[in-house]
Amino acid sequence: MLFRRDMIPEGIGEKAHTTFSRGSGSAKGARMSSLGISQIVFLPQLVPTIMLVIFGTLVIWSASLTIPEASFMRHLFGIFLGTIAGYAVWRYDYRTISNLSTALLIADMVLMLLPKVPGFGYSAMGMTGWIRIPLIGLRFQPSELAKLVTILLMASLGAEYNGRIETLLDYVKLCGILTIPFLLILTQPDLGTGLIVLVSGASIIICSGAPRSWVLVTIGMVVLGATLVVVTSLTPGLPHILKQYQLNRLIVFVDPSVDPTGDGYNLQQAKIAVGSGGFFGKGIGNATQSGSGFLPEAHTDFVFALMAEEFGFVGSTLLLGLFGWMLFASISLAQRVDSPFAKLILVGIVTMWSFQLLQNVGMCIGLMPITGIPLPFISFGSSSMISQLMSVGMVQSIWRHRPKAA
């Protein structure tokens, strides 16, 4: 009863768009095959993604020159694994999971709780967010995968309403289900990933057709709650829900001069790296901020600062441009497909990428507080690379399995 599936939206488009028929006809030879590729691959989204991955590879290679932890081979291996995973997702008909929401929820919860399993989990940077894959000894961060699973879960639920949530109960139910993965991530604790899950999920709920007033009230409640959490954490005597380092990051965000050696130092060094890059950048291997160790985590969280220092404003613009191209291509795909499920998946993925871009680049330039969120396709780290390439596979799968004219 929980997951009502009396309406199946997928079928709608197939009947409606009988004229959608670019690939059909009598063209032959090379033209035929190129048309064939664009039939199964959504090039406007794939091309910028490949370019981003190549750009990222270049950045990580330059980081590997000075940062021993940034193993270039491991980065390539991550891309390799991600490509395989993405390929699998692309081949898989996403529509078959549209009515598997219960399974998705369970999968989501398992992913979140996996690091808590004794002997399986792995802690780093104050978080129990990793698992060690037994045979190969690789560490994997399941919450990265959980972001995509949550998007699929929320999309499959939202799609049921076919663009219009009628009852408050339905709305509350959607919001309630979203809080499950969010709260589970918070227990790791990984506020950054939690926020991505929350924002992408909320975006899906809104696009599912939730009444505006309800949404505004919910946002108001969330803002109020967040403020309350911060205030109680700052007030001596009241329970401190936020950890001290999280509070510090907030304080430093408001006034970077407060703490010149801790987070404030990191922020300051990141800004110096970005700003000193100038128009053309300092060139590969000439980055003094990241190359001489002033910029911390230059290959992971602060990879954008490293990129901006080496490639300058030209590099920053290229990166934003590629992201923009990719995002708008995905949005245009969402407009072109008929299935609400597909639309909502795309909405979730686009929101996730946009928000991660804002969060990661924003923290390097002082627009957002510091959180440990990787920059999609660029940051060093296999978990992120695999889940992001799977998201790309998802977008491609939506294109591949779109209803085609006969």
Binding site: G163, R164, C207, I272, G275, S276, Q289, G324, V350, L367
Partner: protein, 677 residues
């Protein structure tokens, strides 16, 4: 940019985006644009409402993503294009460090090029600032260096060496300690051994009072140098520096001190040096050549030591200090300057220990740091008599024909105020010249009485001052005293709490003054200059120890001290004739034994003895002479505190110095028993 502004901008953008979304969806309850009829087409409805709704929501998503990219782009534009210089400067500051390099201090040589002060390599233990936080390491370091842990920590925490430099913990560390540290590197993290130049005085205490000593800059010197930092060419001290604190080291600090070099290096975040950038070579200090002759100086020091030993051997254990001085009267060059007791400037290298310092500055040890030639003040005793003679002749108190009857006890101011001549048996009938030769006090008591009752009761003081007493001679050494010429005004103000009679100037004060006793105070330097003036008939050259400043390249000098006249004294030629004749008589006529020490020299000598009396003490002996008597070149003075009669102690010092100058050692063993003063 102010973070508040950033947040406000961000909020404004989000707000605008929200308003845009609302505007697009105006009038709708959902984020959609539903033109009525909610029946999905799946149910057979003809309306495309769901499609329309999604379209607008996706437009909202486009605005969301687009504004994110827009905001990031704008901020990046401002950072990478507008504020690039500011950030580039910060990045440079981050990665560059400037380390100052020490400049070698100039050497000090004697007039013949003998090294008096030089530099030697020394092993120095330096430590990173973080070591101060490591109790175990500090304790370990303290143990092997033999310092209290508190002192070790204080040295490491000393900020004045510059924030980045390694801090000096101990200098002149033994090889044993160095090898221990190097063998146990793992125990001494952040601790290093460096080789630095240290001041070295190869001749030990030789010439110590001229050379002075060095030390770390005082807080005052550090503050003063920081104030002048902006002036070009000025020296900026750091606490590990070697700075002159006395003598020539202090006087010519600006010449001796080099200019620190600067080395700019590229560092990583941990402060490790990655590469070298620009550097400014350290400029070593200039070498200084002194007028001192090390050979004569050695003789002077030995003579002083011998003379004091001679006095003490005779049972006078109060005698423990004295001074000797020799100057070229033609140009003011100081040939030797000795003061006893003395010290070794080497003790100050790398910081003097508290015990040593207390020992050197205590009264019991006889103030070894004091330069008695320029800072020792004594009554001049009979050595003043030539000046008293000039005064008497000038003011008409006496003439070359004046004669006096010395009975040994003078009652010029009445029997109750009677005063003895040192020769209690009396000199008989003596004239003014003989008054000088035999140092007859009666002659000068009469002169004093004459002044006391004359229209110029302070004619003596005026004459003494004209000859430079009561004011410093301006020698190029620090801490010169100016002595004291007492007069009625001084006495009145000095004895503030005495009764009116005791405060007022009496005839006895004048008769004391005229023979150089009582409240008169002079330095050996002043008296030597007076005799230099007598020898040259009125031209006193400014005494100086600097001869030249050597050039950095070649053998030449960049600066030669040009002799200058310190004082031109006018006296009648006939007065000079009489006084010079008298002074020659002192040497050859006063006492046979005394004369025997000078007749064995090929050069003629003129001079004067003196015996200054202080109640409750043995008298202080003076002897001042110049040579050759007919064409004077050197004036030699000696003063032995509580050494007894001048002819019995200071005379030997003067004779030995002359012996060193002319290579004619004193062969006479005759001892003066007449007690001439």
């Amino acid at each position: 940019m102010d973070p508040i502004v950033v947040i406000a901008t961000l909020l404004a953008i989000v707000l605008v985006a929200l308003v845009l979304v609302v505007l697009i969806n105006r009038g709708e309850a959902r984020f959609t644009f539903d033109i009525g009829g909610a029946t999905p087409r799946a149910s057979g409805g003809g309306d495309n409402s769901t499609e329309k709704g999604f379209k607008n929501r996706l437009t909202g998503l486009s605005i969301f993503s687009g504004s994110i990219i827009g905001v990031l782009f704008t901020k990046l534009w401002s950072m990478q294009l507008v504020s690039v210089d500011e950030y580039t400067q910060q990045a440079e500051l981050n990665r560059t460090r400037t380390i100052s390099t020490a400049a070698p201090r100039g050497r000090i040589l004697d007039r013949n090029g003998v090294e008096l002060v030089t530099n030697r390599p020394s092993l120095v233990v330096v430590a990173n600032t973080e070591v101060a936080d490591n109790d175990v390491e500090v304790q370990l370091l303290a143990n092997i260096l033999g310092m209290p842990p508190v002192a070790v920590r204080r040295k490491i925490q000393d900020q004045t060496e510059g924030a980045q430099s390694l801090r000096t913990v101990s200098v002149d560390v033994s090889r044993r300690v160095v090898s221990y540290i190097e063998e146990h590197q793992y125990l001494f993290d952040g601790i290093d051994v460096e080789e630095r130049a240290q001041r070295h005085y190869p001749l030990g205490s030789r010439c110590a009072h001229v050379l002075g000593y060095t030390g770390s800059p005082t807080q005052e010197q550090l503050a003063a140098s920081r104030e002048q930092e902006d002036e070009s060419g000025s020296i900026v001290y750091e606490s590990g520096d070697t700075v002159g604190q006395a003598g020539i080291e202090y006087q010519y600090e600006s010449v001796l001190q080099g200019i620190r070099g600067e080395q700019t290096v590229y560092v990583d975040a941990d402060g490790n040096v990655l590469d070298y950038a620009t550097s400014i070579e350290a400029q070593s200090g200039s070498d200084i050549v002194l007028t001192i002759d090390a050979k004569v100086q050695e003789a002077a020091e030995q003579a002083l030591l011998d003379a004091i030993a001679r006095v003490r051997k005779k049972g006078n254990s109060a005698c423990n200090s004295g001074s000797a001085f020799c100057m070229d009267v033609t140009n003011g060059e100081v040939i030797c300057l000795a003061s006893y007791p003395t010290f070794s400037p080497n003790d100050f290298v790398g910081g003097i220990s508290n015990d040593d310092w207390e020992n050197l500055s205590s009264e019991e040890s006889g103030n070894p740091l004091m330069n008695r030639v320029i800072a020792g003040q004594y009554p001049s005793a009979s050595t003043i008599k030539p000046l008293s003679t000039f005064a008497a002749l000038n003011y008409g108190i006496a003439s070359s024909e004046s004669g006096y009857d010395c009975t040994g006890f003078w009652t010029g101011f009445g029997k109750e105020y009677g005063q003895y001549c040192w020769q209690h048996d009396g000199h008989g009938w003596v004239n003014l010249r003989e008054g000088i030769v035999y140092s007859c006090d009666t002659v000068f008591y009469e002169i004093g009485k004459g002044f006391y009752y004359s229209d110029n009761p302070e004619g003596l003081q005026e004459t003494y001052r004209r000859w430079g007493l009561g004011s410093s001679m301006g020698i190029d050494l620090p801490a010169e005293s100016s002595g004291r010429v007492p007069d009625a005004e001084w006495k009145w103000n000095y004895f503030t709490y005495a009764d009116e009679f005791a405060r007022s100037w009496q005839g006895g004060d004048t008769t004391n003054l005229v023979i150089g006793q009582g409240d008169l105070l002079v330095t050996p330097l002043q008296m030597a200059c007076v005799y230099a003036g007598i020898a040259t008939r009125g031209t006193i050259m400014r005494p100086h120890v600097l001869k030249s400043v050597s050039s950095h390249v070649g053998d030449g000098s960049v600066m030669d001290y040009v002799g200058e006249v310190a004082r031109e004294v006018e006296e009648q030629e006939s007065s000079y004739d009489l006084v010079l004749d008298g002074l020659r008589g002192v040497i050859y006529e006063e006492s046979e034994a005394q004369a025997s020490h000078f007749t064995n020299m090929s050069e003629l000598v003129s001079g004067k003895t003196g015996t200054a009396e202080r109640s409750g003490e043995e008298p202080t002996g003076w002897f001042i002479a110049f040579v050759p008597a007919d064409d004077p070149q050197y004036v030699v003075a000696s003063c032995v505190e509580q050494g007894g009669f001048g002819s019995d102690c200071a005379m030997y010092v003067v004779r030995d110095i002359m012996g060193a100058i002319y290579d004619e050692p004193d062969t006479s063993t005759a001892v003066d028993t007449s007690g001439v003063r």
